[in-house]
Amino acid sequence: MSEDTEHTFEGSGSELRAMTMELDELHHDMGMPAMNGALSQMRGTSRRTFLMGAGAAVTGGAVLAVVGSGTLPALAGASTRRLSAADAAFPPPGLKGDLAVAAVAVSLENLAVFAYAAGLAAATAGKLGTVPPAVATFATTVKAQHQQHADAWNAVLKSNGKAPVTVTNPTLTPTVQADFAQVTDVTGLAQLAITLETIAAQTYQAETTMLESSAAIELSSSIQPVEMQHIAILYYVLGMYPGAQTSSGTPLAFNPTSMAV
């Protein structure tokens, strides 16, 4: 049995807590190989401009949440700044092909980090009612994983002499902010999270046929299943079938890409 699935419980509380503490170490242990591979192999020589079309077009005055590795994005109002249209070209003009995809991927991961951080802050402030402990753990752990994903893609950009992306996806950010403003409980937060995770997972899935570098495909494909796992647990929390499904809740054997950006 693979080491990451072989666990023995002696009791529900202490053993579960111990495993959670191990997660952080595992994240770093497992993330490095994929990221290092990408760092050594990815080059920005592609002509392709995947994700640079309508989905990533930004309008002047879009609100971008600025986040970065090591920071803890807070609620939208405290952690965002309004960028001018000149600031907002996205992906940055110097990024082409796989590097442009990397920039978009970072922006999606940043948005997820922002959303989970905002959710945790709202929960701490008592704005979401009673928050089950498992939900808080979920949000904390998932936020950290999304930060690692963002770091991995940013490392790719940096290794190619490009600046890291520290903004959230400009197309989706206004909608997410508006939706988040309507969230009043854990159920609403989980539903918003499912949307973000689904967009991320489907985008990575679509990238497998669009990225040119094998290392980039490898990195993208190593992240997609993790986002899908986040989705499964979110559905479980909501009392729904814990897997990909139609809007009416019918399980799907093949994940679609209709929500990819």
Binding site: S2, T5, G11, P33, P132, S222, A244, G249
Partner: protein, 286 residues
């Protein structure tokens, strides 16, 4: 639990009805395969061989140290598992056939598991039963899709299970006979989780190995589904081991009762690994 059972039964029924819809992306991919499938037959045997050697080492290490089941007693997989697949053909065809062989093994394993009283019988948790039923059906769809893609490239359909894993599964299932319900359920969950993880890791790797874009898309559409199966099984395993089977429930209020750490058990790694991926040719048609 009654509500869960009814809801899941409805979902299963809908799932069967909508199987054709679910397969639409695959059919689209297969259409593309038909158009492009014969354009290139440049699979590199040397690349396949190197990949095979590399991953045979990793997988052998993974499975040889595996205590797939902690439980004792059980039935033996027969029929479909009696004759295993083996290797050789072009790379995209090989990896598609290998994928089909993994799916075939998963279907056979879930089918056998559902004959056990604590998985498919009256003493079973209805959520676990329905999960096994839905998941078995999904694996059958995956096998069909992989085989259709292989045939579109001029290969044969793989109708047998992966030969490397059959002995392991047989041994594990054979040990289930005298197990208690909890032990048996844990054994089945552990075995299923191992197979799901191998499938997920294999398909993650296959998105890089596959030459045809349509094949990459097919593997990408399935890898996350298998990873979700792993997540669910991780959660179920944890709750069974914690002596809290009542929390294996799809009632909306269940989340409030879950221990804090349960919120992170379903996704142990930030990046999905591939060290347990099946070698590309392992399940190919001989």
């Amino acid at each position: 639990m009654t509500g869960d059972s009814r809801a899941l039964a409805e979902l299963l029924e809908e799932s069967q009805d909508l199987q054709a819809d679910a397969l639409r992306p695959t059919r689209d991919a297969l259409d593309e395969l038909v158009e492009t499938g014969h354009a290139r037959r440049d699979d590199d045997p040397e690349v396949s061989r190197a990949f095979h050697e590399e991953h045979t080492r990793a997988l052998t290490a993974s499975l040889s140290g595996a205590a797939l089941l902690g439980a004792a007693g059980g039935a033996v997989l027969v029929g479909a598992l009696a004759s295993a697949a083996s290797a050789s053909s072009p790379s995209d065809v090989q990896i598609l056939q290998t994928a089909a062989s993994i799916e075939n093994l998963a279907v056979a394993t879930y089918k056998t598991a559902l004959t056990l009283p604590y998985i498919g019988g009256s003493s079973a948790n209805p959520v676990v039963t329905k999960f096994a039923q839905v998941t078995m059906g999904q694996h059958a769809q995956h096998a069909d899709a992989f085989n259709a893609a292989a045939k579109s490239l001029g290969g044969k359909a793989q109708t047998k299970p992966d030969p490397a894993f059959v002995p392991v599964v047989n041994k594990a299932v054979a040990s289930l006979g005298s197990a208690s319900a909890t032990q048996g359920a844990l054994g089945v969950v552990g075995l299923a989780m191992e197979l799901e993880n191998i499938a997920a890791e294999t398909y993650v790797k296959d998105t890089v190995l596959a030459k045809k874009a349509s094949n990459k898309a097919l593997f990408a559409s399935v890898m996350g589904i298998e990873a979700q199966h792993v997540s669910v099984l991780l959660a179920v395993q944890a709750l069974l081991k914690a002596g809290a089977p009542q929390l294996i429930s799809l009632s909306p209020g269940t989340a409030a009762s879950l221990p804090a750490a349960a919120g992170s058990l379903g996704f142990p790694n930030a990046f999905y690994k591939t060290n347990s991926a099946a070698p590309a040719a392992q399940g190919a048609v001989k």
